[in-house]
């Protein structure tokens, strides 16, 4: 599987700096379908398009604009955006470590992998192992495009995982949803506990993924028998790469989620 780079920079803790790349950890999707052009069966690629010039716009010609009044934009170049918090745009500085047990999963947003860049392998391996043994997560802030992310860096299966966290103010209050009063007869409470205990097993997420694919695989198997495949024209290659930054990658994954059958 080709792993797409989203960002590159360094991750640091105290005086140690490790060059790294940020790559996807989640491939939002399903039995993967491609969008095709029904006329020539060429695959389709999602690109930014200029309606004025009717052209595909390469990344170098794209600029971010903040709309201050209808159709009036304040343009911000990448350099200007990086100047807002220059200490955080190319560096993920671990400010402190926390016990993983203390981290409420309510804060977790989206995970990515961090992979070492050339020359960083040794310090990377050391950090992976030291975090695994101590069961700690490193907390850091970093800025990508126009957003600042609070992130947790953890060690998992020999790889560093960077998970963006929700800022506490983004979490809506949880109180008020539970019934405040209500006495449950002891017998009823024990009954429900017993029923739960009987059904407690090991976490095995694979079986749910399999169920989800079953229907689609059935459909495809049936179709493969009935119908021939179509072929893309030669030279229908995809140009360029996908989203250039985390924001775009996030939006892409959200969009994919919505597109799921």
């Amino acid at each position: 599987m080709a792993v797409q780079g989203i960002w590159s920079g360094t991750i640091s803790f105290s005086l140690v700096a490790i060059p790294v790349r940020l790559v996807k950890a989640i491939e939002s999707g399903r039995v993967s379908f491609r969008l095709l052009h029904s006329k020539d069966y060429s695959p389709l690629a999602r690109r930014m398009f200029c309606p004025e010039e009717e052209t595909i716009v390469p990344a170098a010609e794209i600029i971010r604009g903040f709309e201050i009044s209808p159709d009036r934009f304040i343009l911000m170049t990448d350099e200007e955006l990086e100047s807002v918090s220059p200490e955080r745009s190319r560096t993920i500085e671990i400010m402190e470590f926390v016990d993983r047990e203390e981290m409420d999963p309510i804060y977790l947003d989206h995970p990515y992998y961090l992979v070492p860049a050339t020359g960083g392998e040794k310090a990377y391996r050391l950090l992976v192992e030291a975090m695994r043994r101590t069961n700690r997560a490193g907390l850091a802030k970093f800025v990508l495009a126009e957003r600042e992310y609070l992130v947790a860096v953890t060690s998992r299966n020999g790889v560093l995982v960077l998970t963006t966290l929700h800022y506490p103010e983004a979490l809506l209050p949880e109180e008020g949803f539970s019934p405040q009063k209500g006495k449950i007869p002891l017998e009823e409470q024990n009954q429900i506990k017993k029923s739960i205990a009987q059904r407690t097993k090991d976490f095995d997420p694979g079986k749910y993924a399999d169920k989800r694919r079953e229907k689609l695989i059935d459909l495809l198997a049936r179709k493969a028998k009935e119908k021939a495949t179509v072929e893309a024209p030669a030279g229908a290659e995809e140009e360029g790469e996908g989203p250039a930054d985390l924001v775009a990658a996030l939006e892409e994954s959200m969009r994919k989620l919505k597109e799921k059958p």
Partner: protein
Amino acid sequence: MAGATIWKGDLHFGDTDVPVKLRAAVREERLQFHLLHRRDGARLRQQMICAYEKKPVPGEEQAKGFEVEEGKYLLVEPAELEQTAPESSRMIEVHEFVKSGEIDPLFFDRLYYLEPDLADIKGRGFIALAKALKELDVAGICTWAMRKRSYFGALQAHGKTLRLHTLRYADEVIPAESLGLQEAPFSEKELKIGIELIEKLTAPFEPGKFQNEHQEKLKEMIAKKARGEKISILPPRRLKPTEPDQLLQVLEASLKKAA
């Protein structure tokens, strides 16, 4: 302020049914930027481009294909896909329970709060379930269909409340092995100091102390530009990577600094 009600249904396992409402738990506010064309300031749109003709393709000329081998596709009609969509139901089926700590955090996706529905008289089932999940320290693994999609999730108690986290499907998680990372040896001494350093830098988890300062600074910069003031460009701070043969010294210096 509480989030909007998103869905209503019954939590179901064994002989137990608990009517609940799903509420949004997260509300993110951020400055929204648009992507513009540098040359003419036109607002850009995302379009599906035919890789062969290099032209945008309208929705009615788009088809779905499953790639059987490179460049060869099995066409699938929208109506056929529709048939594989889950039947809508009003039930969150709890299939089994697992120890809370067993769920790999990588699987957690979206979070909802559950609220007892009025159909649950005085919320008895809700209270009993929350209490049992908490006492046993387990999460209910459940599936349900909502908005034509199948969801897989974890039901957990937090205090007296219930949370429902949707889980990512196992085949959506890119396996770490596929990254092809190489081993790189380090010494026992380096590891020992690394561990000591991490322990020295450990603090209690208090996410409240981290503010999004950047958002305010960004607003200021936009206001400055709107007034026509010049923005000073600051180069991003780039750290010099620690050389592999310097790692021990740097770790020792870090430890000294942390002491």
